[in-house]
């Protein structure tokens, strides 16, 4: 049984935010008397993550996902509550803790812009106390996994976004951390680059049993990597559990498009008591509940003359979109 590697209890975070009214009057007022207010961006959240788990944090922009990741990796100080990551209080940023984690932000880079990535890799290797031979071995291994080679010797500024992201990953993983915090790692990447990155993360998780906490607005990242998701709504957790359970709950019916041999068969099917969504000539779309799908399909195939049949999964983005605007999902 895997151990808990992350334990968060009653965690809150507030930021002081200043506001300014528009126009000259607002500017002058702002100059002499700044209005600041404390905004609670994370509200009393608690969760645990087991070693080797891949957990997706879902939420609308500004929901607080990135703030949670930043607190987990020790970048920002919590206002209230406790966090324990791998047995350490993250904000103390103890050397052994830092050697255990990494944070990758899709929109930020740590590679030195004017030098080839290989220089940044060796620099990071020395920061993490790796000797030259070990660093070389890890660079070779990770570059093979990430399928990068010549790019290692080209100045970062001349690399494409995908190549740069791969290099960023390599720089962030050279110390072989066992906890990865990934904040929108596929942001701006093309479809192939996104798929390769996901494949790499799956492989890394499988080979090293690393724990991965991930935020992404691309649902494909979440569905292909995460079995568990934590939905964040206005700083609070609205759902924490299995992704497939959430999808089943939110989408209890499937749509079946049935192409009948003739329009007559379609009319017969329309009048046989199924929940019909629409009918166009010999094509009819019906809605069937997930728990009766096998029996219903058997019935249709046995009793009607069917030419073809398509099961349409509801678009996952649409389902998750519903989660992001709701406060609580009790499943």
């Amino acid at each position: 049984m895997a151990q808990n590697i992350i334990a968060v209890k009653n965690l809150s975070k507030s930021f002081d935010i200043s506001s300014k009214e528009p126009g000259i009057k607002g500017t002058i007022k702002h100059f002499f008397r700044r209005q600041t207010k404390s905004v609670k961006v994370i509200k009393n959240i608690s969760f645990e993550i087991k070693e080797g788990e891949i957990v997706g944090f879902l939420g609308a922009n500004g929901a607080g996902k990135t703030t949670i990741l930043k607190m987990l990796c020790g970048l920002i100080y919590p206002s209230k509550g406790s966090i324990l990551v791998s047995g350490y209080l993250p904000f103390r940023r103890k050397e052994n803790f830092l050697k255990n984690i990494t944070l990758i932000m899709g929109q930020k880079q740590q590679l030195i812009w004017d030098l080839p990535p290989i220089e940044s890799f060796y620099l990071n290797a020395s920061i993490y106390d790796l000797d030259k031979f070990e660093a070389k071995r890890r660079i070779k291994k990770l570059s093979e996994m990430l399928e990068i080679d010549e790019e290692l010797f080209i100045p970062v500024r001349k690399l494409s976004l995908g190549q740069r992201m791969k290099s960023e990953l390599l720089a962030a993983l050279i110390h072989e951390p066992n906890i990865l915090f990934l904040d929108e790692p596929t942001l701006g990447l093309d479809i192939n680059a996104q798929r390769n990155l996901r494949k790499f993360l799956q492989k890394y998780n499988k080979e090293t049993n690393a724990t991965i906490c991930l935020t992404s607005h691309y649902m494909k990242d979440i569905t292909s990597l995460c079995k568990r998701v934590i939905c964040v709504h206005e700083g609070a957790i609205s759902y924490d559990g299995k992704l497939d359970l959430l999808l089943k709950k939110l989408s209890p019916v499937k749509e079946i498009l049935i192409v009948c041999r003739s329009e007559k068969d379609a009319i017969k099917l329309e009048n046989s008591g199924f929940n019909v969504k629409n009918k166009i000539k010999n094509e009819i779309t019906i809605k069937i509940e997930n728990n009766s799908i096998t029996s219903s399909l058997k019935n249709i195939l046995n009793n009607f003359d069917i030419e073809d049949l398509f099961i349409n999964e509801p678009p996952i983005d649409e389902i998750i979109g519903r989660v992001l605007i709701k406060k609580d999902y009790d499943i």
């Binding site: 020790g74 930020k108 620099l123």
Partner: protein, 264 residues
């Protein structure tokens, strides 16, 4: 063991930053040239015979301003601007979760820049000697060594002062404007525009209580062979470092608690 590891990290940082600085060699050459303010001051002083009032011969004065130029070249600090930008843009975030204080990066960046700047400073000094052949002198090795140490200590004092100001980014976001306030006394009181000995007595009585005369005036006088209290000057430089370092550590530790990782 610990110092060995830190040395290895710093050495690698230095190597990488030097490679990076070589990418900017033209800019660095221009920065070196832009630091010739002491030569303008020399011109003003000699043309107006101001040196007589402080008992400096023409040769002594020209050597002083050349040394002020050299000391400035190897002690110039801009960490507040780099840190402010990195902090506001969120670039400092990845460095904060690495087992090395980000200021080591800036420190290595400055040292690498100084190494890159070295040949350009020598070329400028060479041209200075061509124009002022009477100023040519060879300091003895001991003095040269102590001057290098003193210049490095001056760099450390300035680096610590600017790092403390840079940490104010955690509270004010625009710490560089505070640094602007320090720029005026640094310019006037450090000896860059005039040897401190030329200041009125009442100014001199308090100016030596500040770190400013130890930034340019003391190392420049030391290198140029002018009369100066070597052990006293070096001790005060070290004292300032001892005072500033814990202050930097405290403000860093408090500041990082305020860090909001904006822009990332």
């Amino acid at each position: 063991m610990i110092s060995k590891l830190i040395n290895r990290k710093i050495f690698t940082l230095l190597k990488v930053q030097y490679s990076n600085m070589l990418e900017y060699r033209v800019e660095i050459a221009l920065w070196a040239i832009s630091g010739i303010i002491p030569f303008f001051m020399l011109n003003i002083w000699t043309n107006n015979n101001l040196n007589e009032s402080i008992n400096f011969s023409d040769v002594m004065l020209s050597r002083y301003f050349l040394c002020a130029f050299l000391v400035r070249q190897f002690s110039v600090v801009w960490v507040v601007f780099s840190f402010e930008e990195d902090s506001l843009m969120g670039k400092v975030s990845p460095y904060l979760i690495q087992p090395l204080n980000p200021f080591f990066r800036y420190f290595a960046q400055h040292l690498a820049e100084q190494i890159t700047r070295f040949p350009f400073a020598l070329i400028i000094a060479f041209f200075f000697f061509i124009l002022n052949p009477e100023s040519i002198w060879i300091p003895n090795l001991g003095i040269l060594f102590l001057s290098i140490i003193s210049t490095f200590l001056s760099f450390l004092i300035q680096f610590l002062i600017q790092s403390i100001v840079a940490c104010l980014c955690f509270w004010t976001e625009k710490a560089s404007s505070i640094e602007r306030l320090l720029f005026i006394p640094t310019l006037f009181l450090s000896g860059l525009l005039a040897p401190v000995v030329s200041f009125p007595e009442y100014v001199k009585s308090w100016i030596y209580l500040t770190p400013f005369p130890y930034l340019i005036d003391f190392p420049a006088n030391l290198l140029s062979g002018n009369k100066t209290n070597i052990s006293g000057g070096l001790s005060i430089q070290i004292l300032w470092i001892i005072l500033l370092f814990p202050l930097f550590k405290k403000i860093w530790s408090e500041g990082t608690k305020k860090y909001t990782a904006m822009g990332s």
